[in-house]
Symmetry: C2
Subunit: 214 residues, 2 copies
Amino acid sequence: MTHGTTSPHPAEPAPAPRRGRPRDAARDRALLDATLAVLAENGYGGLTTAAVAARAGVSTATLYRRWSSKEELVIAAAALHGESSYEQPGTGTLEGDLRVVLREKAAAMTGEPGRLIRALIGEAAHNTALAEALVTAFLQPLYDRVAEVVRRAVERGEIPPLDGVELLGEVVVGPVMTHFLLTPRLPEDVDQATARETADRLLPFALRAVGGTP
Amino acid sequence: MTHGTTSPHPAEPAPAPRRGRPRDAARDRALLDATLAVLAENGYGGLTTAAVAARAGVSTATLYRRWSSKEELVIAAAALHGESSYEQPGTGTLEGDLRVVLREKAAAMTGEPGRLIRALIGEAAHNTALAEALVTAFLQPLYDRVAEVVRRAVERGEIPPLDGVELLGEVVVGPVMTHFLLTPRLPEDVDQATARETADRLLPFALRAVGGTP
């Protein structure tokens, strides 16, 4: 788990939880599932911590012991949804690793997660706290992953060292995010085969951009 | 003027206006300026055609004779703001042309226009009519311009022909849009020197992506 530093792994018993409540993990999960359900029904503007707490069958005080704001709660719920996309690819080639990153991002930007991300980014346009949380929870881990993929390719001698490495995340993933975000087409209307195909068509451009040869 | 097919050029008297009103151009401009002012004060959600009409000193009926919806009005106002960024560069080299496009886009994504664009994109995340209008008014002309820059570079023999030309706009401009959109930093807080420098640092990646050599 990427954001697991403060929440116990759901598959194991919580190791000595700080608040001494063994059912914390299950309750956390119920609260995050409730958050997603309320988000899907009411959107970000219509989501209240009271509604989420009620749906999860806990008190608002219980919710606030775990997340101190609506922003934090929503970010945690979104992170849970996108959790599987945070693994470091290790195909052994730059092209293979970039393909993994682009396909995963295309999948995350479409379907149900895509709807959620698009709603959050829309809200983040006028909510700085949420924008900061989104960058911390989603964008920075993704950009770090891209930088690591490229760093290892340089190390293997596949590509020469690059200037502007701090821009690699935007260079590699920016086009696929733009493709699915800045469009009138609703993300949930893009099927997964199309998302994957788009990622594969963007791959040669990403590869050339960082100095590789398709 | 890019969107000038239905509005007379403001610097000349309107040639035989369809509604026979010589002051249409000035009134259109006043309505669009009022739209920007109301947007800046109240955001998209708080903008009403009544408030815009009142501020411009005309009736709502007059406003609706020119624009049939709030979306149309806001898009026209935003287009007016970004109008100057729609010229085709002609430096004679791929690198020079891409530099122009990237610098212009970085400038448009920051400062006052940036704030407006970010607010509109935020709203477009849950407003399909606005999303469609944004793509038609902003994104497609920009993407067409990028495709033309690359097409001419291929024609000059600077780069080999490319597969996936329909993705060129996203590949070239996606990173700079991502850089200024998906960030907690408010676009109006980015000064123009920084915007320009970012564009120039992204240029070698864009150039390589389309097959050029920085």
